[in-house]
């Protein structure tokens, strides 16, 4: 009898677990039918998975285009997954054999994708006339179709410009409507705009070449350097122009005081915040991209109407002779399950009205050469004409489709940080060039071996 009673607790526990399990099976959580991005047909529609990297208002703009597509037909449903660092995740998913159907990428990793044959050529879109070479400015076409084969489609392009704070210009006795045209003028104006406190601390800087440090590896472009030779596939890191650029770069901590500058910069807030050094008046001039206008409108409305945008000064003083361009792009990774459906989606995305909708909502310029009047009318970026004009600027350079780009950029950044710390510019960049040359020799040797390993 006592034995029977002793069994009761375990029986009750077993029954309770069974009831709980049954409840979970019947009423428990299950994936939303549309969120099952496994490619099976759901509610009669094929699910195409799309991994993209935008957040906030930029993501909402992309969702707007996706919603347009999902409403436009009843056979395909695009499921958007917003994520950080989609490049690494996509590469791993391709290696693992389970990539998305469409992925977002930009110029820097393009070379790695190309070298590893990781993207499906979009030749059908060219053959069917959806896109053609003449649809885009030359530099955008080169980005999307390295070596002539279209691998990606452009989504939102960006070029850089000088943003200057007119209030601080007027306060320093400078003409608020006359930005610098040459690097020399930039230096002179920056000196007048820099303000020190009684304790010797920097209160306001005219300009800082490391704020933000997103283009540190590209500074030589504005000094006339051709960073990459497309014919010889050679990275030019220690040319006289590059040395001049980084001598200029290294002059800033010398002029302002290395430790004073560190202390001053440690007070800067995040880029996308009201404490952005340009937005809260700590730095009077910055180099930024098209999208920055939207961030100013979002985080510091008081600055609206009190800042200007102009081509960034060059060493020669001739505007539009140099710029750095990049572009968010869409591609279909190798191993995608629904290539045909993904092509249809991309063909929809690249339609003029959709691409203009996306860029207008993101305050950016269109990657297409053909622009509607509506685009200019609807775009709330007051400098959209300037940015759109810059799209066809002859001096735009971009990251080449070379798998070494990420490594080379890291090496230049490291060299830049050394010269910022006081090391010799010529010796540091000579060393960086030697390193890159050696990697390139190794890479070419491997290329040749890979060719030999290819089945005939």
């Amino acid at each position: 009898m006592t034995v029977q009673w002793a069994k009761w607790p375990s029986r009750i526990t077993a029954v309770a677990i069974a009831i709980a399990a049954a409840y979970l099976l019947i009423f428990g959580p299950r994936p939303d039918s549309y969120h099952r991005a496994d490619g099976s047909k759901i509610r009669g529609r094929l699910v195409v998975s799309f991994w993209e990297s935008w957040t906030g208002f930029e993501a909402r703009a992309m969702e707007g285009v996706v919603n347009r597509f999902n409403r436009s037909q009843s056979k395909i449903y695009v499921h958007v997954v917003e994520m950080s660092n989609p490049i690494t995740k996509s590469l791993i998913s391709i290696a693992g054999g389970d990539p998305p159907d469409i992925m977002a990428l930009w110029s820097q990793p393009m070379g790695q994708f190309m070298a590893n044959n990781a993207l499906v050529p979009l030749t059908p879109l060219v053959r069917s006339g959806v896109v053609r070479r003449g649809s885009f400015p030359g530099w955008i076409w080169r980005l999307c179709a390295p070596h002539g084969v279209l691998l990606t489609l452009p989504a939102t392009p960006e070029t850089n410009a000088l943003f200057w704070n007119k209030i601080l210009f007027a306060r320093a006795g400078l003409n608020p409507n006359k930005p610098p045209r040459s690097i020399k003028q930039l230096d002179q104006m920056a000196a007048r705009l820099t303000v020190f406190g009684r304790d010797g601390r920097i209160k306001q800087a005219g300009f800082l070449p490391n704020q933000p440090d997103w283009w540190t590896a590209q500074w030589s472009v504005w000094f006339g350097n051709q960073l990459y030779d497309h014919h010889t596939r050679y990275f030019n890191i220690d040319t006289p122009q590059a040395i001049a650029a980084y001598r200029w770069y290294a002059s800033w901590p010398k002029k302002l005081g290395r430790n004073r500058l560190k202390l001053f910069e440690s007070g800067f807030g995040q880029f996308a915040s009201a404490n952005n050094p340009f937005m809260d008046g700590k730095v009077a001039m910055v180099m930024q991209g098209t999208y920055f206008v939207q961030f100013i409108q979002r985080y510091n409305k008081q600055l609206i109407g009190h800042y200007g945008v102009a081509p960034f000064p060059t060493a020669t003083g001739s505007p539009r002779s140099a710029n750095w361009g990049d572009c968010d792009m869409w591609g279909i990774p190798r191993g995608a399950r629904h290539v045909k459906a993904a092509m249809k989606v991309l063909a929809f995305f690249i339609q003029q009205r959709n691409i203009e909708f996306l860029n207008e909502k993101q305050f950016k310029a269109s990657p297409l050469l053909k622009i509607s009047h509506q685009f200019y009318k609807k775009n709330r970026n007051p400098f959209i004409h300037e940015f759109q004009r810059e799209m066809t600027s002859p001096g735009i350079q971009t990251n080449p489709a070379n798998p070494m780009v990420a490594r080379v950029n890291t090496e230049i950044l490291l060299a830049a940080s050394r010269v910022w710390g006081g090391e010799s510019v010529a010796a540091t960049f000579r060393h960086a060039q030697d390193m890159v040359d050696r990697w390139q020799r190794d890479e070419r040797g491997l290329d040749l071996r890979a060719q030999m390993h290819k089945p005939q």
């Binding site: 791993i92 391709i94 044959n117 190798r334 490291l414 390993h453």
Partner: protein, 320 residues
Amino acid sequence: MSANSRITWRQQLIGLAFASPFIVGVALLLVIPLSLSFYYSFCHYTMLTPPIWVGTKNYTQLLSDHAFLRSLFNTCLFSVISVPLALAWSFLLALLLNAPNRLRNVYRTIVFLPSLLPLVATAVIWRWMLSPMHGPVNFFLQFPCHWVGGILSQIALAFHASPATVHTLRHLKPPLWLADGKWAMTTIILLSLWGVGQTVIIFLAGLDDVPLELYESAALDGAMGWRRLRYVTLPMLTPVIFFNLVIGIIASWQIFDLPYVMTHGGPGRATLFYSMYLFEAGFQQLRMGAACAMAWVQLIIILLLTTIAFWSARKWVHYR
């Protein structure tokens, strides 16, 4: 005899069947990945294209890779300083927390709590705390720095130091912590002491395990205070110290999250650690072959250090 051996054979089979989930798991998740990574370490491999055999090139190239050598040096430095420092700090805390006190459990909880926090959250909080401009640490350090700097500059004047030295001392400022290449490593080492809670708990368990009669005997012999600690507590704790030392060495060679979130390896490469560079080479530069070679070098270094620790343990670890 034959019946016995049959039973044994059958029992062995049953035993193997029960152990099979573990055996299959180890084979799938350890043996095969390890073997593959060893093979890839001799290949040029990007994960997306078939590996190309390059012999020992990945290993020889490491010797001329400045970033690799810097990460190796940084990790060695971190390990050499942080492991003994963490051991000493944890031991000291454990001694304090072992002292009879009404609030002892509260103090123990306070010391243990930081090790429960995710490392990323800890890193983000400390990054703000150590901000030279807005961080509370430098805010509170300003006054002592000014005060100490004043005294030191007077002493320097008395010793006829150069005007530059006197000026530097007079304007002594709190460090720039993570923004300064000279201070960044020190900051990471100091912050690694923040999460010593688990080591402290192990030391506390060890302290509880020291037989009271040994203390009584020592007291009868007139040993108190430092002598009691030196000749009773420390020898009895050597197995615990050894355990913490081995775990500390392994953990120090795997440090990743804290510097990755706080400095991303910078300024320059001042805080680039081994695991960070391995991750960068493998998953950002797609040099998986080189990353595999680095992982094997790391494994060999850890094995070597652990072997040395075990070999030396024979001389200083006392088991009861």
